[in-house]
């Protein structure tokens, strides 16, 4: 069933670093028909825990259910909905663009400079650009370089944490 996308929520989760833990989270979303926009998993300061950042869509009721269902999972230690909270929210983009003319090369360099992207790899007719920023910055950057011809791109999905003046993300 197609569900209309409501406001995006950014939910961050501390989960046991164990086989099956991630699968349970992902399966929760498919089994209950929730939409995941992006999902990022990585290490934390504690080797036994992983930190997930999920961007999900839904109305308030759905989001509340998602949070509760996540909390219910045995391997999930903490869950926090960071939507609207004072947080740092970043995503990494790597994109290979076509630059087979001088004009294109200039344009790629110009845009990279404006956005603060790095050219991290070069071949005869391609630049590989890397950009870290919030979602909107990445979206805008992609929009502007699109005319050059995107050969391939990958985004990490968002990671987020509370700004330090506002306490710890998971208290």
């Amino acid at each position: 069933m197609e569900k209309a996308c409501y406001k995006k929520h950014i939910i961050t989760v501390l989960v046991e670093n164990k086989p099956g833990a991630l699968a349970r989270i992902v399966e929760l979303f498919t089994a209950r028909g929730y939409n995941i926009e992006s999902l990022n998993v990585g290490e934390t300061e504690d080797k036994t825990l992983s930190r997930l950042t999920l961007v999900v869509c839904g109305d308030e009721k759905v989001i509340e259910q998602i949070v509760k269902q996540l909390r219910k999972l045995i391997d999930v230690v903490k869950v926090r909905d960071l939507t609207g909270k004072p947080c740092l929210d970043r995503e990494l983009l790597i994109v290979r663009v076509n630059v087979d003319t001088k004009d294109k090369k200039d344009e790629a360099k110009r845009l990279s400079e404006i956005f603060g992207a790095q050219i991290v790899d070069v071949s005869h007719d391609e630049y590989t650009l890397e950009l870290t920023g919030d979602e909107a910055q990445l979206d805008a950057f992609i929009e502007l370089i699109k005319p050059l011809g995107i050969v391939e791109m990958a985004r990490t999905g968002r990671v987020a944490m509370l700004r330090s003046l506002y306490g710890k993300t998971f208290d």
């Binding site: 399966e27 089994a31 009721k61």
Partner: protein, 582 residues
């Protein structure tokens, strides 16, 4: 010094957990376990299909309140368990399932009889484990039992690779017993929030038309005395879901019977008209609520549940209380008693309301048109109820048989009605009867069955005969997949497609061929005799084949998607006008 193999640890840990019975079926991957099990005090019941092992373990848990245990080999053994585990999962029944697995060094190679058991069972379990090292085995078993029985109970699967159960390590009884389970992501909240409890108590005492809507959580937390006390204290009518039948005796004046799709008129109307819906351990399932918007539309909703995720999942809740039903109700009753002193006058209006609901009950009881020509299935259930004094343990299959059992068996006690509520799995009743009889050898256990469902696990006759289990199977034989036929009749212009069971075994001979007793009744006057004879048999299973009216429908009936108040009622002989009673 005490070095033990994985298989020995398995057996010892189970003994220390207090396990008395395991339902299972052997195979290559669990040979080592079976080798040791033979020397244990734990009784192993050899079923004839692993599905029955899971279902019997589930029923064992429902009847005793303890964790049920089943065991199967890898691959097909594990996959055969799945339906039974899903039954327990959907109904929050504490079951620990152990499965064999190929050796760790072969996992992922598509080895012989390898399946990804933890993968397959993940969505139908509270938790599952693949034990990769012998040193984790004892801890894992301890955790499995703890998780299965605590909080919202559920299914835990423990997958045991063959090499792990053959390895040797140290094991100390004392260490096992004294070990505390700590799981940082799992801290069930049992004690309700006192502020919320006070709020709820006040709502109750000030309410005019409250209803107690009681679900399986009340059985799980054994809160039936508290439910009854609360009901009597404040004159509140009580309705139960299928899962909570027996939480209050059928004949209790405050009991309005089951609610929902095939619920009573009184229960469904009380829900529709109430000003306070007091839900305890119930999950607002669609078979209960009908059209959600019109379920208790005028009510303030209080919901007590141990699982926070159930609160507000389907219906908006005004006063949520997360906690164990028994603990919360105890606190609540204290508060109510205090408040009653302050507001004694509120009792009168509730008494009127209770009376009104009782009138509904009298005017529109569960009903069928009696016949002296053909056996009415409801009549069989009534007779079973009468001749067992409402004290038997009833298991059901799924379909019409299940609903008639729920409507007409005058259940006296909790933990005496076992039915696959959430999953609705045909084939549950008979293995469940076996599990119940193993748990309660002295009890009368009756599977109220359909002729379709019973054939899904009929092979278990061999199990029942082997262990001299005197379970009774009452087949309400209508030659149809009756409930499906009923739907085709109502919603598909009577286009009966693939619901006629035109080829049937002779159930009497079938029973006899297994070494059980087979009895048949074809006319109403034979019903009582057959039941009496069946009840007199104490050493082997009995199959009673009741040749019933073929096209009897289950009523009342709330068509799917409709509001409870729009239920289709049976044709009462004497039509009485529904008076507006309140």
């Amino acid at each position: 010094m005490p070095k033990m193999s994985g298989a020995e640890i398995f057996v010892r840990a189970l003994e220390l957990e207090g396990v008395k019975h395991i339902f299972g079926y052997p195979g290559g991957a669990v040979l080592d376990i079976y080798d040791k099990l033979k020397f244990s005090d734990i009784d192993h019941i050899l079923v004839r299909h692993e599905q029955a092992a899971a279902m019997a373990a589930d029923a064992y848990a429902r009847v005793t309140g303890k964790v049920g245990v089943c065991l199967a080999t890898s691959g097909p053994g594990a996959t055969n368990l799945v339906t039974g585990l899903a039954v327990a999962h959907m109904d929050s029944i504490p079951v620990v399932a152990f499965t064999g697995q190929v050796p760790t060094y072969m996992i992922g190679n598509d080895a012989f009889q390898e399946v990804d058991t933890t993968g397959i069972t993940r969505p139908i379990s509270k938790y599952n484990f693949l034990v990769k090292k012998i040193d984790e085995l004892a801890d894992t078993i301890k955790k499995a039992f703890y998780l299965a029985r605590s909080g919202r109970p559920g299914v835990v699967v423990v997958d045991l690779p063959k090499d792990v159960i053959r390895e040797i390590t140290e094991f100390f009884d004392k260490e096992y017993k004294n070990k505390k389970v700590e799981i940082r992501g799992y801290k069930p909240n049992l004690k309700g929030h006192i502020g919320q409890i006070k709020k709820a108590a006040k709502e109750l005492v000030l309410s005019a038309k409250p209803v107690l809507y009681v679900g399986g959580g009340v059985i799980a937390s054994e809160a039936w005395d508290e439910v009854r006390e609360l009901s009597e204290l404040l004159n509140i009518p009580v309705t139960t879901t299928l899962m909570a039948l027996g939480a209050i005796p059928y004949d209790h004046p405050n009991y309005l019977y089951m609610l929902g799709m095939h619920g009573s008129y009184a229960a469904n109307m009380a829900i529709t008209e109430c000003d306070l819906l007091f839900a305890v351990g119930a999950r607002f399932d669609d078979r209960v609520t009908g059209k959600l918007e019109e379920f208790a539309p005028y009510a303030t909703v209080v919901h007590i549940d141990v699982d926070p995720a159930e609160i507000g999942k389907n219906k908006k809740v005004d006063i949520p209380i997360v906690g164990d039903a028994k603990l919360v109700l105890r606190e609540l009753i204290k508060e109510v008693k205090k408040l009653l002193k302050k507001y004694p006058e509120t009792q009168e209006i509730r008494k009127k309301w209770l009376k009104a609901t009782q009138r509904w009950k009298e005017m529109y009881p569960f009903y069928y048109e009696p016949s002296d020509r053909v056996i009415k299935p409801q009549y069989v259930v009534e007779k079973l109820s009468e001749l067992t004094n409402g004290e038997a343990i009833i298991t059901t299959e799924v379909g019409q048989n299940q609903m008639w059992a729920a409507q007409f068996y005058r259940l006296k006690k909790p933990r005496h009605f076992l039915s696959s509520g959430g999953l609705g799995a045909m084939g549950y009743g008979f293995p469940a009867a076996i599990g119940a009889q193993v748990a309660k050898p002295e009890a009368t256990v009756i599977d109220i069955a359909g002729d379709g469902s019973i054939q899904m696990n009929i092979q278990e006759l061999a199990t029942a005969v082997q262990y001299n289990l005197p379970v009774k199977i009452a087949i309400l034989n209508n030659g149809f997949l009756g409930m499906v036929r009923q739907w085709q009749g109502m919603f598909y212009d009577k286009n009966y497609s693939n619901v006629c069971l035109s080829v049937q075994p002779d159930f009497v001979k079938l029973a006899e061929s297994y070494g059980a007793v087979g009895l048949r009744a074809e006319k109403p006057e034979e019903v009582e005799e057959v039941i009496k004879e069946a009840l007199s048999i104490k050493d082997k299973p009995v199959v009673m084949d009741f040749i019933c009216d073929r096209e009897e429908d289950v009523l009342p009936f709330v068509p799917p998607g409709m509001a409870l108040k729009d239920m289709v009622l049976p044709k009462y002989k004497k039509k009485k006008a529904i008076k507006k009673v309140v």
